[in-house]
Amino acid sequence: MLKRSIIPVLAFALLASAGCSPNTGGNTEDSLENVSELTIYSGRSEAFIAPFFAEFEAESGIKLNIRYGDSAELAAQILEEGSNSPADLFLSQDAGALGAVAEANLLIELPGDLTSTLPARFLSPTDQWVGITGRARVFAYNPEQVSQLPKSFQDFTRSEYKGRFGIAPTNSSFQAFITALRDNIGEVKAERWLRGIVANSPRYYEKNSMIVEAIDKGDIDLGLTNHYYIFEVAKALGRDISVKDGFFAQGDLGNMINVSGAGVLASSKKASAANSLISFLLRRDTQEKFVANTKEYSLLEGVAGPEGLPDLEQIGAPTVDLDALKDLKWTQDLLIKVGLL
């Protein structure tokens, strides 16, 4: 009788102890041959990156345990885990999340053969992360509705665009842009610009893709977003959309290039295997596939841009310190102050 009534208690004890924990039993020997599995925290979505991971698995014989999530939330998770993180490699949608993890000394310094592949502006200054692909900030617009194209991001505070454009203030790519803005033109001007934007009655969206969808539907005429969303939305809808990417004048901050990137966790015992994955992702043939499949820019010199868009060198991208993007505290405070968060 007693046994039967404590079943729930036993069930719980059993549950707690029998939980499967796939991340234990790490291989302590840091050599490529001994590594059979790697744990990846991926802020890049499965639909984009899974084929690349599969190719690496086939090539290397290393099984990847991939945890998909939002880049910033994964960064927050790694910060909470600290030195107990089960992750070996962190792949992020943007440089800011990597910078924050690097700043907490949770990433190792990457070897020279990886960092020498890329121009220095696409690397962490301390070599703790490398860029993998480039993503250009653009304005997306409906060519039938917008005759006078903006020449600078500053133009969005002008009355002719009042109420006609969309932004995604909670999205990390928008916030990275605000951070770069402060880094380049100073706090006062950056705040003035953002207040000008808020005063110009933009529509707010949760995601960049929703901005592009809204332009296609005719809800708005323009929006600040990343270059690849027009391809993504067209693919998702299964048809052509009446939205194009526009670039600002040469050197305008609105054309900034952010990167998706990767870093290896300091708590990982499989650093060389993790490095080999980064090396695979930076290889020229892999990079060309990124351009063709995910419509992103390759950061390697001499690789052409996505079809229908200018090459990376021709965008007229401003010089932006990607490492500065980790300092989101000020950006967040500003967004809070003007009421966008």
Partner: protein, 533 residues
């Protein structure tokens, strides 16, 4: 009412129960364990917020935005409460008052929206009506998705209303409205209040609908702060405020509830009072339910189907199968753990009325109002130190249990409270041990309530997303996670098969919940079996 007197007397006698019994000590220990574990998120929030300077806190709180967050949160609570009570209690009353043959179908129609996650629901509406945004939109979505809780609770309470009282009132010349307001309403108010509390706490914690519809509530702001910064301090401060709001609402409900204790008559349950008999009135009542189910069910079904057909992609059946299995596995474990805690907590509250147990119950209720991301991160901070536990099915199930325990405790406690104490007393005087008495008397008699609690936790856990993202084992994808990962790409067509499967899966417990007759019958059956032993 003689039954009440007996109950009152025996409660006095029951009070000095042996405090050394295994049942007593075991329940107390489990309740204490629960309190310690449920304290983790609160401890985490205090710890994260404690570093904040006064100026940082005032910069966060004394701004225009704070006003709008408060305004949005409370407007949403008000609108959803009003809508859910009007529709939920209204439908329950209609179905109770109308005598029809196909009542099971209408019960199911009114309950089925429970199976649809609020984010799927919201997405469907946006897909059809691009202008569908803002607080009214959020209020509508949340009303539709929470209404069934009030509906089920009210319907169950109505079935316990003493029909003799109604007949007496009618014979004394009361009209139908007077019968309802003077006889029926006082007896169902408690049930409406208790389910409304759960609805309000849910509204506080909802992220899916408010984020897609652009309504800045506390939970959305907290989630966005986490996304915006890797400094988790501001989010923790807002999390604490949310905690205090939830606590205040719980205390208010308790005050109201105390004035509201309805008599428990021991009449047989009745599924219909046949108050509405005119064909036209019947038709009107039922068409309301049909219109509602069209908006709440047919619309999402239509969007999902067209999305799936419009851009049909190869369905990844193995992935779909494993996500389905994982969802089922982890939500079932979550519901089992929730019941494993709800039983000792309810028992301790009823048997001892100790402040400690009542306090634990309130902590459990407050936890229900916490955003999933807060609970998730707190368990990351706590769990990552224990590598065998971290990112395990066990920890994720436990997170579900903690998040949704409130749904189980209410039902378990209420069904245990309804057991006449005299039954237990007789059993104890006959020399049966407290533990056996619990097993032979309390458990079988409370079984329907426990079962309802189990199903509610199961159902809600299936749909949970934020905590799942953080706590699931790496590579362990649930249906909710698959829907999320497809919809971040605006590729809802890819999410459609997962959304369909999730709704179909969640429809099973929903279906059982919509059939109170069956639940009751089964328990009566069990009861008889027990007595025969």
């Amino acid at each position: 009412m003689p039954s009440l007197d007996i109950a009152a007397e025996s409660r006095i006698e029951a009070a000095p129960m042996k405090k050394t019994s295994l049942l007593h000590r075991g329940s107390l220990a489990l309740t204490a364990l629960l309190l310690a574990l449920a304290g983790i998120p609160f401890f985490y929030l205090f710890q994260r917020a404690s570093g904040a300077s006064g100026s940082e806190i005032s910069a966060l709180l004394f701004r225009e935005k704070t006003l709008s967050i408060f305004f949005n949160t409370f407007s949403l609570i008000f609108l959803v409460s009003l809508g859910a009570v009007l529709i939920g209690a209204g439908f329950a009353t209609l179905l109770y008052a109308v005598k029809i043959t196909r009542s099971a179908l209408f019960l199911l129609l009114a309950t089925l929206p429970l199976a649809i996650p609020s984010y799927v629901f919201t997405y469907s509406w946006i897909a059809i009506f691009p202008w569908f945004r803002g607080i009214w939109a959020a209020a509508l979505v949340l009303t539709f998705s929470t209404m069934p809780y009030i509906f089920l609770a009210t319907y169950a309470a109505l079935r316990r209303v003493d029909l003799v009282q109604i007949e007496v009132a009618r014979s004394l010349g009361f009209n139908r409205l007077e019968v309802f307001t003077k006889i029926v309403l006082p007896q169902i108010r408690g049930a409406i209040g208790a389910s409304l509390l759960l609805v309000i706490l849910y509204v506080l914690s909802d992220f899916g609908a408010v984020s897609l519809l652009g309504v800045d509530t506390f939970t959305r702001t907290i989630q966005n702060l986490y996304k915006a910064s890797f400094d988790r301090q501001s989010a923790a401060i807002l999390g604490l405020i949310l905690m205090f709001i939830a606590a205040t609402i719980i205390l208010i409900e308790e005050r109201v509830h105390k004035k509201n204790i309805a008599s428990n008559s021991s009449v047989r349950v009745q599924s219909s009072a046949s108050l509405i008999t005119k064909p036209m009135a019947k038709l009107a009542s039922l068409s309301l339910i049909v219109i509602y189910s069209f908006l709440a069910l047919a619309l999402p079904a239509y969007v999902l189907t067209t999305r799936m057909i419009a851009n049909f992609q190869e369905i990844d059946y193995p992935a779909l199968a494993s996500a389905t299995f994982n969802t089922l596995l982890v939500s079932t474990f979550g519901a089992i753990i929730a019941i494993a805690f709800a039983l000792p907590l309810s028992w301790t509250i009823i048997a001892t009325r100790s402040r400690f147990a009542l306090f634990t119950e309130k902590v459990v209720l407050i936890t229900h109002a916490l955003p999933g991301v807060v609970l998730g991160l707190s368990l990351v901070a706590f769990g990552s130190k224990i590598s065998w536990l971290y990112q395990s099915v066990g920890l994720l199930s436990f997170a579900y249990a903690l998040l949704f325990l409130a749904k189980a405790v209410g039902n378990t406690r209420a069904s245990m409270e309804k057991i006449p104490p005299i039954l237990k007393e007789v059993s104890l005087t006959l020399g049966v041990s407290p533990l056996s008495t619990f097993r032979k008397i309390t458990l079988p008699l409370a079984a329907p309530g426990i079962w309802v609690g189990f199903l509610l936790v199961l159902l809600t856990a299936m749909k949970e997303l934020p905590a799942t993202l953080m706590l699931r084992p790496t590579g362990f994808e649930t249906l909710a996670v698959e829907i999320w990962s497809a919809s971040t790409l605006s590729q809802f067509n890819q999410a459609a098969p997962y959304a369909f499967t999730l709704i179909a899966l969640a429809a099973i417990p929903t279906f059982i919940l919509s059939r109170p007759d069956r639940i009751q019958q089964e328990s009566n059956h069990v009861e008889k079996e027990r007595w025969r032993e």
